[in-house]
């Protein structure tokens, strides 16, 4: 299942997966956007052009807003925090998630990493949400500031592609 493409991600510099284990679950860029639509945290793999990812996240916010307003008019049981695939480009896929406090998480993954299934993305977003809640509860954190927590950084690092 999903192993037909081999155990490697084709973008440069990724570590070799154990043969037969499938590609590691990795994102290329992760961003946390406040409800006023400015970034609280944005991190991408350093070898790529970071500006390109910043721009992608920025354009994805329009799609997020569209989905949120569409949800508001839909039936009750369709309200969900996970927004799913926002839009695909030829190299990347962008996923979104919005919390009850209107904080948005945007994740960009490599298109060639096709073994990344929907529920894996959901669990990554859940981990992000839990870490973000911990940041919020930290008395040294002022809501609205950039996130500088090392614990949050470590959690995001564990989700991103290892590029040496």
């Amino acid at each position: 299942m999903g192993r037909g493409l081999g155990g490697r991600v084709t973008s440069g510099g990724s570590r070799d997966a154990v043969p037969g284990a499938g590609p590691p679950k990795m994102a290329v860029c992760i961003a946390v956007i406040a409800k006023e639509n400015y970034p609280l945290y944005i991190r991408s793999t350093p070898t790529e052009n970071e500006l390109k990812f910043h721009y992608m996240v920025h354009t994805s916010l329009d799609v997020v807003d569209e989905k949120i307003s569409a949800m508001g008019k839909a039936l009750v049981d369709q309200r969900e925090l996970y927004l799913g695939l926002l839009y695909p480009t030829e190299d990347y896929k962008v996923y979104g998630y919005v919390t009850n406090s209107k904080v948005k998480f945007v994740m960009v993954v490599d298109s060639s990493n096709t073994a990344l299934r929907d529920n894996e993305i959901r669990s990554m977003f859940r981990k992000l949400h839990n870490s973000y809640t911990d940041v919020m509860c930290n008395p040294f954190y002022n809501p609205g500031d950039r996130i500088q927590s090392r614990a949050f950084d470590n959690m995001v690092t564990s989700m991103m592609i290892q590029v040496c």
Binding site: M71, V76, E80, T99, S101, C137
Partner: protein, 175 residues
């Protein structure tokens, strides 16, 4: 189950500590029985303490507003948010639900608690009525903070007619 009293003791100490810093003991003219809002008859120093308490409650409310509704789906409308406050938030902080929620559907909500846990150990009746407002400042901030995280700007005031019954009035201005 000693957990519930831990917060009550901490809260009592917070109020006592912030009140003690006020150097001016003279309550000034017009000390009313604290029936409407917590600012009635207070001097500037006391007003500062009240707003500090309310500010603390606000920050705590922001964090709770982020942590508590996690598995719940997004709220559909204002009334749902208020119901969440009355049920989930109140149970999480005070181990009981709010006793009544009334609204005029124009943005004003009155939440009534017939046996507010922070006032319960003090008295039952009219004794200590003047002291009661400062014990409600933190909780007003708590409500305002939780509402703010969920996207609603509001003004929260509290009033006590007879301990331990208290009413929290939430006014959400129409934009």
């Amino acid at each position: 189950m000693a957990d519930t009293v831990l917060f009550e003791f901490l809260h009592t100490e917070m109020v006592a500590e912030l009140w003690a810093h006020d150097p001016d003991p003279d309550p000034g003219p017009g000390v009313s029985a604290g029936l409407r809002g917590e600012e009635a008859g207070a001097t500037k120093g006391q007003k500062m303490s009240l707003s500090v308490l309310e500010g603390m409650g606000f920050r705590v409310g922001q964090a709770l507003g982020e942590r508590l509704p996690r598995e719940t789906l997004a709220f559909r409308e204002e009334l749902d948010v208020l119901k969440f406050l009355c049920k989930d938030l109140w149970v999480a902080v005070f181990q009981k639900q709010m006793d009544s929620l009334r609204t005029n559907h124009q943005g004003t909500y009155v939440l009534q608690d017939n046996s507010f846990p922070l006032l319960l150990p003090m008295a039952s009746g009219l004794q200590y009525l003047e002291e009661a407002p400062k014990f409600l400042a933190f909780t007003c901030g708590l409500l305002r903070g939780a509402l703010y995280t969920l996207g609603i700007e509001s003004v929260v005031t509290a009033s006590v007619a007879a301990l331990p019954v208290c009413k929290f009035q939430v006014v959400i201005p129409k934009s």
